[in-house]
């Protein structure tokens, strides 16, 4: 992992005439460290910032020895791969996968599995309605593609459901997908996560629900507390046996619930419903006396047995 010379070490000048570089002067207080020691600002365990795209360890400012534009050193160009109609000058190397349309798109092929819910990639979820006989409820308009005979119907929340949904903001515009076939769901290139429930429950903010099995029961739950705009916070709680697909803006963080787990109520997406939610607010008198405050005064605190988790997205709605 740390095979590449760290950027902080003095870089040997190009040319290769120099003996191997002496170990970098150790930072203060760390005598005898090897020069591969990660420097400040670099998280241990991550790859060093050099070469994230598989490039050679760069020289100063990452520039290669200046070559004429687009020209490879002789010998790098595989002979005989020149397509007709091309002149010399541009390297005509082929992608690793080989030439052709099929090879270029092999990376993005559909991957069928025997599962009902299959994430095709981070942003696409495939459901196979032929596995299991229950229909799927999904956010309206979230289907991007389907194969087979699938019918999309309106799923109303019912009279009471609409009243509750309107009052709490936790309403979902749903459609019911029935039939036999495979449906692909996606929305706005947000990240999708299939959470399988086996008799347990999860609380998800309604706007982060993309699809779920119709076998699940769901209801609006209220979190009381002072300091929340509107007086209370509402979430959608799913219970039963089935799968919920939760979407997040960006790569989320899943935190285990410990005695000190806090989250911003605008960024938290979901939590296991066995954990207890408390509003924690920093009350400071000074906030009223001086202008400007951090904006992070009201938080949600989570308490629960080990094994509970919360999901937080890097995006505050």
């Amino acid at each position: 992992m740390h095979a590449a010379p760290t950027m902080a070490a003095p870089l040997a000048p190009h040319g290769g005439m120099v003996p191997p570089p002496a170990p970098a002067p150790a930072p203060f207080g760390q005598p005898g460290q090897p020069p591969q020691q990660p420097q400040f600002g670099q998280v241990p365990g991550q790859a060093p910032p050099a070469a994230p795209y598989g490039q050679q360890p760069p020289g100063p400012y990452g520039q290669q020895a200046p070559a004429p534009y687009g020209q490879q050193p002789p010998g790098m160009q595989p002979p005989g791969t020149q397509p007709p109609g091309m002149s010399q000058g541009v390297p005509q190397g082929l992608p690793q996968a080989g030439a052709g349309l099929q090879a270029a798109l092999q990376l993005y092929k559909e991957t069928p599995t025997g599962q009902r819910w299959t994430p095709q990639n981070q942003k696409l979820m495939r459901v196979d309605l032929t596995m299991g006989d229950t229909p799927v409820l999904a956010r309206q308009g979230s289907m991007v593609m389907y194969q087979g005979k699938v019918d999309f119907g309106y799923k109303g929340a019912g009279f009471a459901g609409r009243i509750v949904g309107n009052a709490t903001g936790q309403e979902m515009q749903l459609m019911r997908c029935t039939g036999r076939g495979q449906i692909f769901f996606a929305e706005d290139a947000s990240h999708l996560h299939a959470i399988e429930l086996q008799g347990d429950g999860i609380c998800v903010s309604a706007e982060n629900v993309l699809a779920f099995d119709e076998t699940l029961q769901y209801e609006v739950r209220r979190i009381e507390g002072h300091g929340i705009p509107g007086g209370a916070l509402f979430t959608m709680q799913f219970q039963g046996t089935g799968t919920v697909v939760v979407k997040t803006h960006g790569v989320p963080v899943v935190l285990p619930v410990t005695p000190t787990t806090f989250a911003d109520c605008n960024a938290v997406v979901a939590w296991s419903s066995a954990s207890q939610v408390i509003i924690s607010s920093q009350v400071r008198l000074r906030r009223n006396a001086y202008p400007g405050h951090s904006g992070e005064t009201v938080n949600l605190q989570f308490r629960g047995a080990p094994g509970n988790f919360i999901v937080v997205q890097p995006y505050e709605v």
Binding site: G100, A104, V144
Partner: protein, 226 residues
């Protein structure tokens, strides 16, 4: 200060078109190897490259492209390295080997000038798709780069006996030999506020592939913002 940024320096050139990261395309340009690219997609270049918007050849080939004010394609020529991007959309580089591909007009980023190409209107439900589905059909042997909002998926149509239905907003590209039809799943219940949000799809049948993006945002950002 530059130490943290050195990792993003360009890699050695090994091919005509390469990804730099997942959302940027790098094209090695040389004299005599022209490139057609979306107007406004250039983010940087090194060397001596000239851009010609709406060259006469394009105007002739894309004469059917009557949406907006002409074909949003420019001809790039010269020597150097050209960097293209489309507002953070994923870039997929394809090396055509005597293949052909029909790409949604907004999802074309660049293609080699010597490829055979033409603009065609998608038959069937172009009127329903809102923006009118104009496609660039590219064939031959050479390089093509297409964009996709999020990692795309490629589905083989010939696998099942059923047709493949795609939301027109999420469609990126398909094999031109597929049969395309419009399919309306519009019901009278939509008129009274009980629609499913899926009013029409495009149905594909035959042997070939369909490329779909995980987003139904098909706005043409290069055209909207420039």
């Amino acid at each position: 200060m530059n130490q943290q940024l050195t990792g993003y320096a360009p890699t050695p050139v090994t091919a005509r078109m390469e990804n730099h990261g997942s959302t940027m395309l790098r094209v090695a340009m040389a004299t005599g190897q022209d490139l057609y690219a979306r107007t406004g997609s250039m983010v940087a270049y090194e060397g001596f490259i000239q851009y010609e918007p709406n060259p006469p050849a394009v105007r002739q080939i894309a004469s059917q492209w009557i949406t907006g004010e002409g074909a949003p394609i420019m001809k790039c020529s010269g020597d150097g390295l050209l960097y293209l991007a489309d507002y953070g959309a994923d870039v997929v580089v394809i090396n055509l080997n005597n293949d052909s591909l029909s790409v949604n007009g907004t999802n074309v980023l660049a293609f080699d000038g010597h490829l055979t190409w033409g603009v065609e209107r998608v038959k069937g439900l172009a009127k329903f798709a809102g923006q009118g589905l104009w496609n660039v059909c590219i064939s031959g042997t050479g390089w093509v780069a297409i964009t996709s909002r999020g990692t795309p998926i490629v589905v083989d149509c010939g696998r099942g006996e059923d047709e493949t239905y795609v939301d027109p907003d999420a469609l990126v590209a398909w094999s031109p030999n597929l049969k395309v039809k419009g399919k309306r799943s519009f019901k009278a219940s939509s008129l009274i506020g009980r629609g499913s949000g899926e009013a029409y799809q495009m149905a594909f049948s035959g042997q070939g592939i369909v490329v779909v993006q995980p987003s139904e945002d098909s706005t043409d950002r290069l055209r909207v913002r420039n």
